[in-house]
Subunit: 245 residues, 2 copies
């Protein structure tokens, strides 16, 4: 049923940046013939999904009917698992999503590629927040006082000789994390393990989870790793924001 697919492409042609589209623009973005795009847009307008002022089309709130039903029944793990599987396959490394529970991070989804950690991580597993990349991303999203309270109020063993354990030093790292939008950890939780994490933000702007990649420690400088892995991570991040209200 070609017409349906074409119409959905046209709807997806609208985005946060492109909220008003002419027929030709919509055709361009959707990759359709202008005549086809025109028919789709007129149909959408006829069905109340779009407004037409004679020149530009705009989507109406009615399009929100299309997804919200199943949205209610869609918890975090269901949303992120497919994203995680695709990401893990693309970059060939293990990826995980976790949320913050007190001073610990809890894994809610995981796509394992190869074992780099001594312990097996699975949904439900927990690690302390202070020495993990996802934990630092999640702590960085809190109010500084709250983050400091959590850090100071729980034991912070030096799991390796590289582990940062002082609250002041950790708070400085959180500030950097907040500024950069990601956290990188080099063998602070376990020798031989590095990890890069970014926050996952819902459509209202709240950080609800963290996404990371685990790597075996290598000679590569952190910069090179971030350069290679940050783009796909950030792509998943933006996809997530579109999917998760």
């Amino acid at each position: 049923m070609g017409g349906l697919m074409k119409g959905l492409k046209v709807i997806e042609a609208f985005s946060a940046e492109r909220t008003r589209l002419s027929i030709a623009e919509a055709a361009e973005v959707a990759g359709l013939d202008r005549a086809t795009a025109r028919r789709c847009l007129l149909t959408l307008a006829d069905g109340g999904y779009a407004d037409y002022d004679g020149k530009f089309f705009t989507l109406t709130p009615r399009v929100l009917r299309l997804g919200v039903g199943c949205l209610a029944a869609m918890p975090l793990p269901r949303v992120v698992q497919p994203l995680l599987d695709a990401l893990s396959q693309e970059i060939g490394e293990s990826t995980s999503v976790s949320i913050l529970d007190g001073s610990e991070i809890v894994y809610v989804a995981r796509a394992a590629q190869r074992r780099v950690m001594s312990i097996a991580l699975m949904p439900g597993s927990r690690l302390p927040a202070y020495c993990t990349s996802m934990g630092r991303v999640l702590l960085a999203a809190l109010e500084p006082e709250e983050a400091l309270g959590i850090l100071a109020g729980h034991p912070r063993p030096a799991r390796t000789d590289r582990t940062v354990t002082e609250p002041d030093a950790l708070m400085a790292i959180l500030a950097q994390t907040r500024a950069h939008g990601f956290a990188f950890i080099d063998q602070e939780v376990e020798i031989g393990l590095r990890s890069l994490a970014v926050p996952l933000v819902n459509a209202r702007g709240a950080t609800v989870a963290a996404l990371n990649v685990g790597l075996a420690a290598s000679g590569d400088p952190p910069n090179a790793i971030a350069e290679r892995l940050l783009p796909p991570l950030l792509k998943v991040k933006s996809d997530f924001t579109r999917l998760y209200l």
Copy 2:
């Protein structure tokens, strides 16, 4: 372009209650021939919008791209969310902003304080306009003939024994709402729930949305509630007008 409209009807056939549909069920709900519904569903599955296990179809998170793009595109949620958060914190009650879509209101932003309603409301949720405070504020902003047309043209079940359902009585309430600049509802949508709403007006003077506070029903007289909650609501209203367009 009939095929597109049919396909959108099929997508809308899915809801929070009906998350898995067979071909015949989808055809029934969407009001289409079974063969037509089948083609739509297979097309949706082919495009990644639905999953098919041989018996039942399920929508995938991909359909959320269809609506969320425009939700994020609407500057409205971005503008009101911080105002809502602050207001909710100040008065200690749940607040929401909604817009009118046909005979229904659609929640575009929400700051929940405590649950007073039986159903969970979130961005994208819908309620009928005739029996909600925000709905009455939004209907009151229309031309009377248009409001009457919407009221008379859609079912108006008495959701509680206090629900006003007669078009004439509702039109009188709309006139009052227009005169007072707010709407107060006492357990007309659900027993135990009261709500106070004001219109949100853009800089050009057009009513673009409604803002409300939800309250648990108490012995307090409406006057006392309005006296306590109207000032902060009106403050947000004027802030909004300065910020929006």
